[in-house]
């Protein structure tokens, strides 16, 4: 072990000193820090990021709250098992770049995950503070703090010890799974080419998650880091279409990672759903986030409804409804068939949406839409629901209240009820096995039915989180690298 490693870990002398410096009782009396944020009245007039990030002082105070538990359960709550107390204690002692380096050992995109992970269901839900009936340590805020400070300090240094092995690997898709795979393979010395179907790199981080939640500059900084590692990006290239599997093999690629993401938006199949003014959240968000619709100079149009109903209760629904407010909707509504408690969206997004004047019509299920003479949606009917017995997902399932149907005036409806896997790659690569749900079937090493093809993220999971996609990318990189180097 080198000296550098000796000062890491819970047993390092400095960690003991920090633990001894303040009694637990005193630490647990410190209230959880409050994220500085833009005023709601102002933020619905702009796309600026709502959460402004912790100050250094706030971060150190929050890091002090962490009790540095001997068996930290927060780590178990993290899908990629980030060494949480290690990075938090480094923030407390002022070694913020060290904290960022610890994050990067496990997470390729901490600045992204610090912003978009549902921490209240993951790491923070397992924090010891919950057992004391206190608010958990703000792990997500601290993760973001460390990553932002590192970014502000300039481009990440390219590790000097990378030995290029000359083996080419291709990545289909430049979202979180593809990017984390690309970074890890480049660090292992592989020549990495990332192929993206759209005209911009970043996948869902660009077309999906709005600027007010995840600024593009954060993503661009990560892309620059990858370019510095030698990763090559190609836009406008659909694997399976522009380049076939055989084309990739002929180009000399020895391994292919499919990270093409979730595809087809789901609709409910109710009358009037194809009226104009009814669209998927993917369409709405892509027009605005990727195409810049609504911004001066953009050629892409977008409908700007005055009364906008967003169907669904996930994060994409929250992104859509909050975007609608920013596009000038007087009435922006979430229509969700279960109750607030059952909503899958992050608590923070629901909270922010409420602050921004979004109305929540819970226990309401759309049953039909009606249009005006031009075919534009003008009203909808919702069936009121009540909660019955818990279903397979453990959530209480909604049952209709007979005869309770409400009419709501709307001029735009955004359907955000999930996605089905994109068939593009499975349909165009013979021999690539898919599950009955249409996702790419992989083994424990993320390897598909074709030994050279690995897959991860939503094309395997169907519809999950950034952190899980990223974790898939890292694990796939580890196992593909091992296999390719064995055969080399």
């Amino acid at each position: 072990m080198t000296d550098r490693h000796n000062d890491q870990g819970r047993n390092a002398a400095w960690r003991q000193t920090l633990r001894d410096a303040m009694p637990a009782k005193e630490r647990t009396a410190i209230p959880r820090t409050v994220m500085p944020q833009l005023d709601p009245a102002y933020r619905i007039t702009t796309n600026e990021e709502v959460n402004q990030g912790l100050t250094a002082e706030q971060a150190v105070t929050e890091a002090t709250r962490c009790l540095d538990c001997p068996t930290p359960t927060c780590i178990e709550g993290c899908p990629v098992n980030i060494a949480i107390p290690d990075f938090i204690k480094n923030i407390q002692r002022g070694e913020v770049l060290r904290a960022a380096a610890i994050l990067k050992q496990t997470s390729a995109l901490p600045a992204v995950c610090g912003r978009v992970c549902p921490q209240e269901r993951q790491c923070e839900s397992r924090c010891i503070y919950n057992k004391m009936k206190k608010e958990p340590v703000a792990i997500g805020y601290l993760e973001r703090f460390a990553a932002d400070r590192e970014r502000a300090a300039g481009p990440a240094p390219v590790p000097a010890d990378i030995v290029r092995n000359g083996i080419r690997v291709a990545v289909a898709g430049s979202g979180p799974a593809g990017l984390s795979f690309a970074g890890d393979m480049a660090k292992r010395g592989f020549d990495v080419d990332v192929f993206e179907a759209l005209h911009e790199i970043g996948g869902v981080l660009k077309y999906g998650i709005p600027e007010f939640r995840l600024p593009n500059s954060v993503v661009d900084a990560e892309l620059d880091n990858l370019r510095a590692l030698g990763v090559k990006f190609h836009t406008n290239t659909v694997i399976g279409k522009t380049l076939s599997y055989d084309d990739l093999l002929n180009m000399g690629f020895k391994g292919i990672f499919v990270a093409s993401g979730a595809g087809l938006p789901r609709f409910m199949g109710i009358p009037g759903e194809n009226l104009s003014g009814v669209m998927s959240s993917n369409e709405y968000l892509t027009r605005i986030n990727l195409m810049g619709a609504g911004r001066p100079g953009s050629a892409t149009p977008v409908l700007k409804g005055r009364r906008v109903a967003v169907i669904g209760g996930g994060n994409t629904a929250m992104d859509s409804v909050r975007t609608a407010r920013r596009m000038g909707a007087e009435r922006a509504m979430i229509i969700y068939r279960r109750g607030l408690e059952e909503m899958p969206a992050r608590v923070e997004e629901v909270h922010h949406a409420r602050e921004e004047g979004v109305e929540f019509l819970t226990l309401c299920n759309p049953v039909r839409y009606e249009g005006d003479e031009s075919g534009r949606v003008c009203r909808m009917y919702v069936q009121r629901m009540e909660l019955g017995e818990p279903d397979a997902s453990g959530r209480r399932s909604p049952v209709p209240i007979e005869g309770a149907v409400d009419e709501i005036e709307v001029d735009q409806v955004i359907v955000s009820v999930g996605v089905s896997p994109n068939p593009l790659i499975p349909d165009n690569i013979a021999g690539l096995n898919v599950t009955p749900r249409g996702t790419v079937a992989v083994d424990g090493n993320h390897c598909s039915s074709i030994p050279t093809i690995y897959a991860g993220g939503d094309i395997v999971r169907g519809g999950a989180t950034v952190i899980l996609a990223m974790g898939d990318g890292r694990q796939a990189a580890a196992s593909m690298a091992e296999k390719l180097l064995e055969n080399a």
């Binding site: 179907a197 759209l198 005209h199 077309y207 836009t235 406008n236 290239t237 659909v238 279409k241 522009t242 380049l243 076939s244 084309d247 595809g263 087809l264 938006p265 609709f267 199949g269 759903e273 194809n274 009226l275 104009s276 003014g277 669209m279 998927s280 993917n282 369409e283 892509t286 027009r287 195409m291 810049g292 100079g297 953009s298 050629a299 892409t300 149009p301 409908l303 031009s374 075919g375 534009r376 994109n422 068939p423 593009l424």
Partner: protein, 263 residues
């Protein structure tokens, strides 16, 4: 960037562009389309591929100026570039030897995507009769190219300025009545495809149409292109662009295509 090496005016509002896109030229098949962006802040719009030359790495696009974005594309000259071209997208046409005539009906710029299909059906050994229709003589495009791969070409114009006066359906019905038509392919404005479909339905002739709906990504992600086919929601970009014309809800499709019309 995708350089334009050749530009030809078919009419005031219709141009033919030959664009350098080697990978697309290599991979494309009849029936495929591309998504194009004119400039850095351009809209993504779908265009069908009229032809391709793998040797020169070029594809041929035929564009009609109907909105701001298509006008901007039509204003480009040889030597200029398209900012983005992605494809080939969609499913390729099912080509094969049919038990009878293949009747290909093209309306307006719909003749452009029809041309590679005509070519492929001819090369597969079929008897191909093509009916090209437009409002007037100036709007008939690619007549010579179509003639080169058709056993017979029938021209129909609304005003009688070329070929015979009348709608595409009149020309098509004549062919249907005189010979055994095994399959019909109709590509053109939605209303034209709708009426060809009604005609061939009467004669029980399998008919495919190629739909050019509003799209954003063109890879199945946004659902802007969805149409009702046989009572089911289908995505033109990944399930199409070709569908059984007898099953398509053309009225709904036309209504949806007006969604972004300026009021």
């Amino acid at each position: 960037m995708y350089r334009i090496v050749e530009k030809t005016h078919f009419s005031d509002k219709v141009v033919k562009l030959v664009v350098v896109a080697p990978e697309v030229a290599h991979a494309r098949k009849p029936g495929h389309f591309v998504i194009v962006r004119c400039g850095e802040s351009g809209e993504r719009i779908p265009l069908t591929i009229a032809d391709a030359d793998e040797r020169t790495g070029t594809i041929t696009l035929v564009v009609q100026a109907v909105g701001d974005s298509t006008r901007a594309i039509c204003a480009l000259e040889a030597g200029d570039s398209l900012h983005d071209v992605v494809g080939p997208l969609g499913r390729a046409t099912d080509i094969g030897l049919r038990d009878g005539t293949v009747l290909c009906c093209g309306g307006g710029v719909g003749v452009a995507p029809l041309l590679p299909i005509i070519k492929a059906f001819k090369q597969a050994g079929n008897r191909v009769v093509s009916v090209l229709a437009a409002r007037n003589k100036d709007l008939i495009i690619l007549q010579d190219e179509v003639a080169a791969y058709s056993d017979e070409v029938v021209i129909m114009t609304d005003d009688g300025s070329a070929g015979r006066k009348g709608l595409v359906t009149a020309g098509a019905e004549e062919v249907i009545q005189r010979e055994h038509v095994a399959e019909c392919v109709a590509i053109g404005p939605a209303v034209m495809m709708k009426f060809v479909a009604l005609l061939t339905k009467k004669y029980d002739i399998p008919t495919i149409c190629s739909l050019n709906t509003i799209m954003v990504d063109g890879t199945g992600m946004c659902g802007a292109c969805r149409v009702t086919v046989g009572g089911k929601n289908r995505f033109v970009c990944v399930d199409g662009p070709e569908f059984d014309a007898h099953q398509v809800d053309f009225d709904e499709m036309m209504m949806r295509m007006r969604a972004y019309d300026k009021k």
